[in-house]
């Protein structure tokens, strides 16, 4: 009885295999693929170099700044920027190395890493989105209060407020929209992947 069902199962397997192998494949120029892959690898290296070089101006400011010439609060401001920059660059390099080296992991581990990465990206975009309106309010408030402390007249103050508000509209509104779109994109990707793999997601 068992032998009969085993034979049947084996026949099904053979017929599936034979049918599966019948598929036609694409004709691709592998020389061109290798060329594109080389280009992509060089691009990744360039991006990494640009990430690291982006810190150079901040380091130079910290080294060359004349403490006597500038107000004291500006030094910690640059220092905080430098620390934030180093953290960001380290994170970007980590992401790039994860995507380069995780391709040979088992699929379940790879998928887990990818979902985690997508959720982290969504979180960063969310933080970025909220940073935009906080910075926008801070810029308008700072410029207006600064004007008020200098005893400018009402007309002048109104003009400062209008100009800073204009600046906010041009820079921070697109920043907010862009961050929000990225956040939704990453959340959508993570949740689609998790549900395709039969995992439950924290967004559902």
């Amino acid at each position: 009885m068992n032998t009969k069902s085993d034979t049947r199962a084996s026949e099904i397997q053979d017929s599936f295999e034979a049918l599966w192998q019948e598929q036609s494949s694409f004709n691709v120029d592998f020389e061109n693929i290798a060329k594109q892959a080389r280009l992509q690898r060089n691009k990744q290296r360039l991006y990494m170099a640009v990430d690291v070089l982006g810190l150079v101006p901040l380091v130079m400011v910290m080294v060359l700044i004349d403490e006597n010439k500038y107000a004291a609060p500006i030094i910690p401001f640059f220092f905080i920027n430098l620390i934030a920059g180093i953290v960001m660059v380290a994170y970007f390099i980590k992401l790039r190395s994860i995507s380069a080296f995780s391709s040979t992991k088992a699929t379940s581990d790879y998928a887990e890493t990818l979902i985690k990465q997508l959720r982290n990206n969504a979180l960063i975009s969310r933080i970025n989105k909220h940073t935009s309106w906080i910075v926008a309010i801070a810029v308008v408030a700072f410029l207006t209060i600064d004007g008020a402390m200098r005893d400018y007249d009402y007309q002048h103050l109104l003009s400062i407020f209008a100009r800073s508000f204009g600046l906010v509209l041009v820079i921070f509104v697109p920043w907010y929209i862009w961050s929000k779109r990225r956040q939704l994109r990453f959340e959508n990707e993570a949740s689609k992947l998790a549900s395709a793999l039969g995992l439950t997601t924290q967004h559902e």
Binding site: E22, F26, L193, A196
Partner: protein, 187 residues
């Protein structure tokens, strides 16, 4: 490196192309995906240290690339919406292949085979990703241990799953074929 890549692709190109077919129905997007898989293989090839077979190594890379593709596709229009029109066209046997098999099969048989292949592919794509991966690796002739290494499941789990997925696939194919027949009777 280029020479080695060419040799590897000549041997495993068709296998990798079938992995792309498992995850993408739309022909144009599938070709893009196949090229991305080939590029990922090119990048990972220097790191191959012969711990596993080259076939297992490449299959891991290809399936992982496809997993990223599934995530990215969340933001595109659903490709399976247009798959019905592209499916039959994309799997028509090419002229050279057709002439090779012409001596063995009648035209009618070829059409039946082509329809069967089409329903097999549709049925495979209806499975969840893990089952899809297990059954296609099995159809590629991978053993339970190899499948376990690629998917990250245990070999026992794979062994138990295969027969269950096979019968699920068979049921799906029957239902797809009857849907297609009902549609052609209506016309």
């Amino acid at each position: 490196m280029s020479e080695r890549f060419n040799t590897v692709m000549k041997e495993y190109g068709a296998l990798l192309s079938r992995v792309a077919t498992t995850y993408e129905a739309n022909e144009a997007i599938r070709q893009e995906l196949y090229q991305e898989i080939c590029m990922a293989c090119w990048q990972a090839l220097p790191r191959f240290n012969e711990d596993a077979s080259l076939k297992t190594y490449l299959l891991k890379i290809a399936h992982n690339r496809c997993i990223s593709h599934v995530a990215k596709e969340a933001n595109r229009i659903k490709s399976s919406d247009i798959s019905d029109t592209t499916e039959n066209r994309s799997h028509d046997p090419d002229p050279a292949e057709a002439s090779r098999t012409a001596s063995h099969l009648s035209v009618e048989n070829q059409i039946i085979q082509s329809q069967k292949l089409s329903s097999l592919l549709t049925a495979v794509r209806e499975l969840n990703i893990t089952n899809r991966q297990i059954i296609t690796l099995s159809m590629e002739g991978c053993g339970n241990k190899e499948i376990a290494e690629i998917t990250g499941l245990t070999a026992n789990n794979v062994g138990v799953s295969i027969s269950r997925i096979k019968s699920e696939l068979k049921n799906k194919m029957t239902s797809i074929e009857s849907r297609v027949n009902a549609r052609s009777v209506k016309k």
